[in-house]
Symmetry: C2
Subunit: 95 residues, 2 copies
């Protein structure tokens, strides 16, 4: 799962910090193989998150975790737009 998040003007850093906290929360989740937070070098408001999950179900379950719910509520007001990039990983190093 890959997505481009556009932060409210001036809020990218704050949003990125919340996403990094979410990634930290995934460190012990074996179903989450990748949760990479990137900032765009072209767009000062854009953050790209790249996630790799063992299953769609594992991802859905992760969103029920109270800590994740709290972080999502914290992040929501900082987000101006979310553009999912619908990709299907087919292999490679880190897959």
């Amino acid at each position: 799962m890959t997505g481009k998040l556009t932060a409210q003007p001036g809020k990218r850093e704050e949003l990125a910090d919340i996403l990094l906290q979410a990634a930290e929360g995934m460190k012990d989740n074996a179903d989450c193989e990748l949760y990479l937070v990137n900032v765009s070098e072209d767009d000062p408001d854009a953050i790209w998150v790249m996630e790799l999950w063992r299953s769609a179900e594992a991802h859905t379950n992760s969103l029920k975790d109270p800590a994740a719910i709290a972080l999502i509520q914290q992040a929501r007001p900082l987000i101006a737009a979310i553009e999912p990039v619908k990709l299907r990983p087919v292999g490679g190093k880190g897959f």
Copy 2:
């Protein structure tokens, strides 16, 4: 490093196979932390490659490898467009 490659019509699978061979060649390269090949679910010609390197220099050096050069020459005629997505990873799981 992230990029969207548009294959020539009908050539996506062949191009993805070449990229997977390139990823295979990175398995023993400790400087390459991620080389993920994804296909777009929206665009039948699009492939997204996500790479994570310890340094820009490590990536540049990898392109001098004869096997990589051969794969690039094989891939080139199959590629209609390359759109780099300039990102800077800031952290997360897999970083």
